[in-house]
């Protein structure tokens, strides 16, 4: 059974220095509140896993939480580069960042294998590209029936999987709808899991398309707007203005450090962070 707890307790109880941590969300339902709490608690040497590291991982990398990144596409969607990610890779600042680089199809197959209790997944992928020369977790595999050579990738099994979702009921069953991404897979593939939710309800909404039963989730935390500036379908929209403003904030090392200090480290919790960004938002 999932435990209902506070965010600081959930992060302190589940995320340790050196852990493999996946905060997932395919544009939708990205667990910003949980990521900020990891920054606030000063976690270090994390291996961060995510298909689409975007602004949240840029913040965590800029804050020095990460030693290694397992990913398939790192950018600010529709805006441009992730400057903290780039600076870590191009200039080893604030710390060097090792990369384990895959494609989306490969990362998805890796999560599916992890959720399925298989050591590897199979796909038609990577063949003819330079990825296998730089990523050791890509290997050929031969179909025993046709002789065709395909590609194998090892299962992802993070220590902690973290997602945001719209709802949990009082028994701790988690429900989400809209773009699903790999939200189910990351929870099922991980040894421990944290789900932040918009709302705790008596009965899950009929719109729910993905349900995670209470007994597969470790901790549930009620964090309204916990995905902002990402969005929660049916609750609030994506704050595209913030994603665009991150371009300027993140370009400069010191400006970004200052932003993180003011908006994350010095905020007591995510509610205080939200109050601050709301106040700063263009009217």
């Amino acid at each position: 059974m999932a435990a209902f707890t506070g965010l600081a307790e959930a992060i302190a109880g589940n995320v340790r220095d050196g852990d493999v941590v996946a905060l997932e969300g395919f544009t939708h339902l990205i667990p910003y509140a949980a990521g900020h709490e990891i920054i606030r608690q000063g976690r270090r040497d994390l291996t961060l896993v995510r298909m689409t590291p975007d602004v949240l991982y840029d913040q965590m990398i800029g804050a020095g939480c990460a030693r290694r990144l397992v990913f398939s596409w790192g950018g600010n969607p529709g805006v441009g580069s992730l400057h903290r990610f780039r600076e870590a890779v191009e200039h080893q600042w604030p710390v060097p960042l090792e990369l384990e680089e895959h494609s989306h199809a490969g990362m998805a197959a890796r999560y599916v294998a992890g959720a399925s209790g298989l050591p590897f997944g199979v796909l038609r992928g990577y063949v003819g590209t330079d990825l296998p020369a730089h990523t050791s977790t890509i290997a050929p595999i031969t179909c025993p029936f046709t002789g065709e050579v395909l590609t194998a990738v090892p299962a992802l099994r993070p220590d902690v999987g973290i997602i945001h979702a719209q709802q949990a009921d009082r028994e701790g069953n988690v429900g989400l709808w809209g773009i699903q991404g790999v939200q189910k897979e990351v929870v099922l593939a991980s040894a421990r899991s944290i789900v932040t939710v918009e709302e705790i309800v008596d009965t899950l909404d009929p719109r729910v398309t993905v349900t995670l039963p209470s007994w597969v989730v470790t901790d549930i935390v009620h964090v309204p707007r916990g995905a902002r500036p990402s969005y929660a379908h049916g609750y609030y929209e994506r704050d595209n203005d913030f994603y665009q403003s991150w371009e300027a904030i993140s370009r400069d090392r010191d400006a970004c450090t200052e932003w993180l200090a003011l908006h994350v480290l010095q905020a007591a919790d995510f509610a205080e962070h939200l109050a601050l960004v709301d106040q700063e938002a263009p009217a």
Partner: protein, 259 residues
């Protein structure tokens, strides 16, 4: 929404290079096409096609939305409107396995930081992989779109830094080393069929090498050659792109100006 497009000539003054690239790309999409759409110009082009001559085009976004009908170009691949307007929303693993890998996508759009003469693509790094001059976003869905979509379209601005003799990193395979080298890799799709740039349009010849096949109005062969890092071949029947019609521009601008 079907519209009759009249081939009205409009002055090219005031038509941006993004607009001409988008219009040319949209025209390449036939009605009913199943299109795996990336964010940015490809998404705009696919939606322009859907709103003009190809009302039955099926737009698939890698976020898992099948048959999305956004009213404005989404900023990100996973905007809520994509899910709201889709015929079906599936998980990301499913979109790559049951839909893309299974060969159900007719056209996959790809962007690129670098492209070579065989339509191979780099979206990973500029410079050395371990010590890159510029770290790019990486592969995303591209390697498998390039492998499994029945055809791919590539859109990017043409400069000697983007159209290169040698890629710094091959992220996605086009026609490989040309000839039958792509087929020998076991790929189910046919690879790049068209590259749309701000200068013109390239199409592969029988060996898979990209050949300049059309110039946009006002552009020259010399410009195209100068903007290409390999000795660019020019088609004997080099065409000039039909300028965007008034109807195309009206729909495109309505689409991109929505709040």
């Amino acid at each position: 929404m079907t519209q009759i497009i009249e081939a009205t000539q409009v002055p090219l003054d005031g038509v941006t290079t993004d607009e001409i690239m988008t219009v040319v790309a949209a025209r390449e999409l036939r009605d009913g096409v199943v299109c795996f759409v990336g964010i940015g110009l490809p998404s705009t082009a696919a939606n322009l096609a859907r709103l003009t001559h190809a009302p039955a085009a099926v737009l698939i976004y890698e976020s898992g939305t099948i048959g999305a009908k956004p009213t404005r170009p989404p900023l990100s691949i996973g905007d809520g409107e994509l899910a709201e307007t889709a015929d079906a929303v599936v998980s990301v693993p499913e979109i790559f396995s049951y839909w893309l890998q299974a060969g159900r996508v007719d056209v996959g759009f790809l962007g690129a930081a670098q492209v070579d003469r065989f339509g191979n693509i780099n979206t990973t790094v500029v410079g050395d992989y371990e010590h890159p001059r510029v770290r790019l976003p990486g592969a995303g869905g591209a390697p498998e779109i390039a492998a499994s979509a029945k055809r791919t379209f590539i859109m990017l601005r043409q400069t000697p830094r983007t159209f290169v003799e040698h890629l710094d990193f091959r992220t996605s395979v086009g026609h490989a080393e040309g000839g039958d080298s792509r087929a020998r890799l076991g790929m189910t799709g046919a690879g790049p069929q068209v590259v749309i740039t701000d200068i013109g349009v390239m199409r592969p010849d029988a060996t898979g090498e990209l050949v300049l096949s059309a110039l946009h109005p006002g552009r020259t062969v010399a410009e195209a050659i100068a903007a290409t890092g390999w000795p660019l071949r020019v088609a004997d029947d080099l065409a000039v792109t039909e300028p965007p019609s008034q109807a195309e521009l009206l729909v495109l601008r309505a689409l991109t100006s929505r709040p």
